[in-house]
Symmetry: C2
Subunit: 124 residues, 2 copies
DNA sequence: AGTGATACCGAATCGTTTTTCGGTTATTTT
DNA sequence: AAAATAACCGAAAAACGATTCGGTATCACT
């Protein structure tokens, strides 16, 4: 464990928002959960390239921040944890949609711009 | 200079969006510019706690990504650079507004949740 | 000429997040 | 009993982004 050394300002809506969902995979996790993928291992598979440990840690943070709630279902198999959006978490979904749509709409432009990166390591 | 060692996927709208405006101060910079604060030193003052070097570097990235364009006005004083949104950059503004509004609306909840952090270093 | 403001850059360092690795526990299936 | 799967955790390492520091250059005003 460690504690932050740099102070963070929360006087700005943007900084508050990024504090809650700015983590590298948090929006992807929330997206998966909103689509009904609610168990850690399946979320990890849905995202594909994020290690499981990362999913676990970001789930824990989202839980601590009140974005998600956890339920442990004992009856079924393969059983165990399921994560759901809290009412607070639900308020993020419109933001998520806005961001995702923007990225999707502009993916062509962004990808076309990054081709000529001379400082990129090219492995053949 | 350095080159990234971790591959980045751009198959996801969220990841694309975060690549363009996910930097710690980028949204704050775009917000300032959209409000008519267009010169580095003034942007730095407007944000307050971000070092000038950071503003410069993030401006350079936004420039390279086609979000901003730079104009050097020679006539006036104190003269020099001015940064403006490109048409591509303008498309980010609705996203910015959405994020900022969410953060502002939920700042009370977020702040109230972070008081009881037991792992926080308390200096007396 | 000296001072102050502006813009900008390289390079090193720092701080944080992300990732990797190696576990534990519990349950189901074989 | 052994193997497989799921959830989860601690600790260290790696990677990245942010920050600090010291520098150059230009122009305006005194």
């Amino acid at each position: 464990m460690y504690s932050k050394k740099q102070e963070e300002d929360l006087d700005c809506g943007i900084r508050i928002a990024f504090k809650i969902f700015g983590g590298k995979w948090k929006m992807c996790i929330l997206d998966a959960i909103s689509r009904g993928i609610v168990r850690p291992a399946l979320i990890q598979k849905a995202i594909g390239i994020a290690p499981l440990r990362v999913i676990e840690m970001q789930l824990a943070e989202l839980l601590a921040d009140g974005v998600l709630e956890k339920r442990i279902e004992e009856g079924i198999y393969p059983k165990k944890s399921m994560y759901f959006l809290t009412p607070f978490g639900e308020t993020i979904l419109p933001v998520l949609t806005t961001i995702d749509r923007w990225g999707t709409e502009h993916s062509g432009y962004v990808k076309s711009r990054m081709a000529p990166q001379p400082d990129m390591e090219i492995v053949t």
